[in-house]
């Protein structure tokens, strides 16, 4: 495993703290789902067709010139741990990591661009950007999409737009999402209501690794729920509005947590979390996420946590189970992982 992981950088630029609300918006992602004309969709294609699609797609990605010194991967040749690492870096979905048939991925050297091949759709191409950066991520993803669309014939019709395996992605095939950290809303128990409201705005919230994944450390992926019937720019603007609104709600919730008797409770919870992160001798990923969430909120509230937001973000990436094992250079069982994580974190925090 070590070889593939070693070829990746230890830190990624899209995890740098940046933009107007670095404490609340971790990163922005824009992805397009595309399929090749002349092949069945991935779920109905035969292995040799999938291999052919992968050959064409990876060659086209290379030819765009956007992947210099990039990674071109055949998923079935990778170890479980390699794939886990790619999932944690948000380049590969759980679905693709579990694929046994020919599947692939192209990832740019600084990991802002990637293309998944033979996921539910032949191509899932994306741009990841640090902080709240919808316009930037959209422009980069669109550039990649445009170049690939000139090299490969995409399945398209004037009525339904870009044709995808699942009708929920048909049309623009675009999903724009922000990874938002909403600890105060969660702490006040307001998230169920917030999510309920989102559903009326054509927006959906998912767990940290996207569809079908857990909510960890109060991180939510907020994205457009529909893809058809509006322009790409409209979908972006809608998410932009919704995120700004969520930020306002989170700020209000943080103010509530700092009022009257709640303030001492909040401060106590934050510093207890920091103490645990600094001194624990064994730390599960879930426990880490719960506590880093509080420490991160504490930093945003102006208390000295000893870390800036970029370090918070990078540490959050590095503490994931696959990254822990990559740092250890071998597979670890959960107990070994928790011990390694606690020690690794102490070094980072001191």
């Amino acid at each position: 495993m070590a070889e593939m992981v070693k070829s990746f950088r230890p830190y990624v630029t899209w995890a740098n703290a940046r933009g107007a609300w670095p404490d609340m918006i971790f990163s922005t992602r824009v992805r397009f789902a595309r399929n090749l004309q002349g092949f069945p969709f991935s779920n109905r294609a035969e292995p040799r067709q999938l291999a052919e699609i992968r050959r064409l797609a990876l060659a086209a990605a290379r030819e765009t010139g956007l992947f210099p010194r990039g990674h071109f991967l055949k998923l079935e040749t990778l170890s479980q741990l390699d794939k886990r690492f790619l999932v944690e870096r948000h380049h590969v979905s759980h679905l693709l990591a579990a694929a046994v048939l020919p599947a692939g991925a192209a990832v740019s050297n600084d990991e802002d661009l990637s293309v998944m091949v033979n996921e539910e759709d032949h191509l899932r191409l994306q741009c990841l950007a640090a902080g709240f950066a919808i316009e930037e991520a959209f422009a980069s993803a669109l550039k990649l999409e445009g170049l690939l669309g000139r090299a490969l014939p995409f399945a398209y019709g004037p009525r339904f737009g870009f044709l995808t395996a699942c009708p929920t992605n048909t049309g623009t095939g675009m999903r724009v999402s922000c990874l938002a950290h909403l600890p105060a809303l969660s702490r006040l128990g307001r998230m169920p209501q917030v999510l309920e409201n989102l559903s009326h705005l054509g927006v959906t919230a998912r767990g940290i690794y996207g569809e079908g994944t857990f909510v960890l450390g109060d991180f939510y992926q907020i994205s457009n729920a529909t893809c058809l019937g509006r322009s790409e720019e409209d979908f972006c603007q809608n998410i932009d509005r919704v995120i700004r609104n969520l930020i306002r709600q989170e700020i209000a919730a943080r103010e509530t947590l700092l009022k009257g008797p709640l303030k001492l409770k909040t401060e106590d919870a934050v510093f207890r979390a920091l103490g645990l992160l600094r001194h624990a001798r064994t730390l599960s990923y879930e426990e880490f996420m719960q506590n880093i969430s509080l420490a991160r909120m504490g930093a945003a509230m102006g208390w000295n946590m000893g870390l800036d937001f970029s370090t918070f973000n990078q540490v959050t990436l590095l503490m994931q189970p696959g990254h822990i094992q990559a740092a250890a250079g071998r597979e670890l069982n959960p107990a070994e992982r928790d011990a390694f994580r606690a020690e690794f974190l102490r070094k980072k925090l001191c």
Binding site: R48, E120, G149, P153, F162, G171, T172, L228
Partner: protein
């Protein structure tokens, strides 16, 4: 707190999920969590969505209109009933074969059945490998033979054009 699954053992695995814009919490004992393939739960970050919200394809079943049993995609042969079951289409031609039914579904899902985003002028012909080209030629020739035997001249003409196109491109 007791495990929500077996209601016998103490729940020690607490999972929080955001599904369909609802936060749901699941409290399980280790044995039931392991049974659901969630032994590591958040460690892997993934769960089996159908265990928690039921099969999502019910959504398509409810919203797709009834159709005669024989309706199939003329491209890949996917049965309409299979599409209703899984919610996944088989190939770009499915969108033509099931257009009326999809119109209804798209309006339900997206609030519209007309693409308003960027138009696509089309890409170049695929640079297929020799093996794939040979296989496709073989398939077309055999289908052409069948069509001629059936005296389906419309299909035969279409296949002949496709054959010519493929031969022309690849010699």
């Amino acid at each position: 707190m007791l495990c929500e699954e077996c209601r016998k053992h103490n729940a020690v695995v607490f999972l929080k999920l955001a599904v369909n814009n609802k936060v749901s919490e699941l409290h399980l004992c280790p044995a039931c969590a392991a049974k659901k393939g969630m032994g590591f739960g958040p460690e892997t970050g993934a769960f089996n969505i159908s265990d928690i919200v039921g099969n999502m394809s019910g959504y398509f079943k409810d919203f797709l209109p009834q159709e005669r049993k024989t309706l199939r995609c003329r491209g890949c042969g996917l049965k309409y009933s299979e599409f209703k079951e899984t919610g996944r289409l088989g190939c770009p031609d499915c969108y033509v074969s099931f257009e009326p039914q999809l119109n209804e579904l798209m309006t339900r899902i997206h609030g519209s059945a007309q693409h308003q985003g960027r138009a696509y002028a089309g890409g170049p012909a695929l640079k297929l490998s020799k093996a794939e080209t040979a296989r496709r030629l073989e398939e077309l020739r055999s289908a052409l033979k069948d069509a001629v035997a059936r005296e389906d001249f419309e299909a035969a003409a279409r296949l002949r054009d496709a054959l010519k196109g493929l031969e022309g491109r690849h010699g």
